[in-house]
């Protein structure tokens, strides 16, 4: 069985400072990992994904994440926060063995606040 733990429910940063959103996962098999972003009353947008290629994954809007198997982590980072980054972020794991559909397991979410 898979699980995802997002270590912080809320993160607050100042505009222009780095962002770090932490995620640990558990999976019995080689997982696919994703980060999604959700702005208020909107759907989820895919930021980036890891699917067993390069361990450092670059996504949209300057975000990147590094897959660390030894630490079972997939932390999301951005060098410089922008006001528009304020949103809720979800770390997600998928078991690629799943026979039917794409069964994703979502973390509880991290709300990012960006102060001016």
């Amino acid at each position: 069985a898979q699980s995802v733990t997002q270590l912080d429910s809320h993160v607050s940063v100042s505009e222009g400072t780095p962002v770090l959103l932490r995620c640990n996962y558990s999976s019995s098999y080689s997982p696919s990992l994703f980060w999604y972003v959700q702005h208020p009353n909107k759907g989820l947008q895919l930021l980036l994904k890891y699917t067993s290629a390069a361990t450092l994954v670059k996504g949209i809007n300057g975000f990147e994440a590094e897959f660390k198997k030894s630490e079972t982590s997939f932390h999301l980072t951005k060098p410089s926060a922008h006001m528009s980054d304020a949103a809720e972020y979800f770390c997600v794991v998928s078991d690629r063995r799943v026979e039917y559909g794409n069964k994703l397991v979502f973390g509880a979410g991290t709300i990012l606040r960006v102060k001016s």
């Binding site: 009353n41 989820l44 947008q45 559909g101 794409n102």
Partner: protein
Amino acid sequence: SQTIHQWPATLVQPVGSPLSLECTVEGTSNPNLYWYRQAAGRGLQLLFYSVGIGQISSEVPQNLSASRPQDRQFILSSKKLLLSDSGFYLCAWSWDRGAPQNTGELFFGEGSRLTVL
């Protein structure tokens, strides 16, 4: 390119009334389709998924049902709404498992906010 449409965007319904939320996908065929619910403080909960017309899998017992009358249409329904059905409902699609483009992610619609009074 592929798009997903979900409606209505917002809905206020009395307890005991019926519900119908619709979702359609364009630009692909034989997608996998999903309904999620996002309730305050409870994260995202998978309600139903479908790998083909008429094939519906339910993840949790509840007051809701889903149907897939056409390949790219997914409908979430209830005969009698409960207060606990309030929440933000998200439809999503993914590539068919055998499709070369499938790397596991889902693509979400804009969501439907349901308030049951």
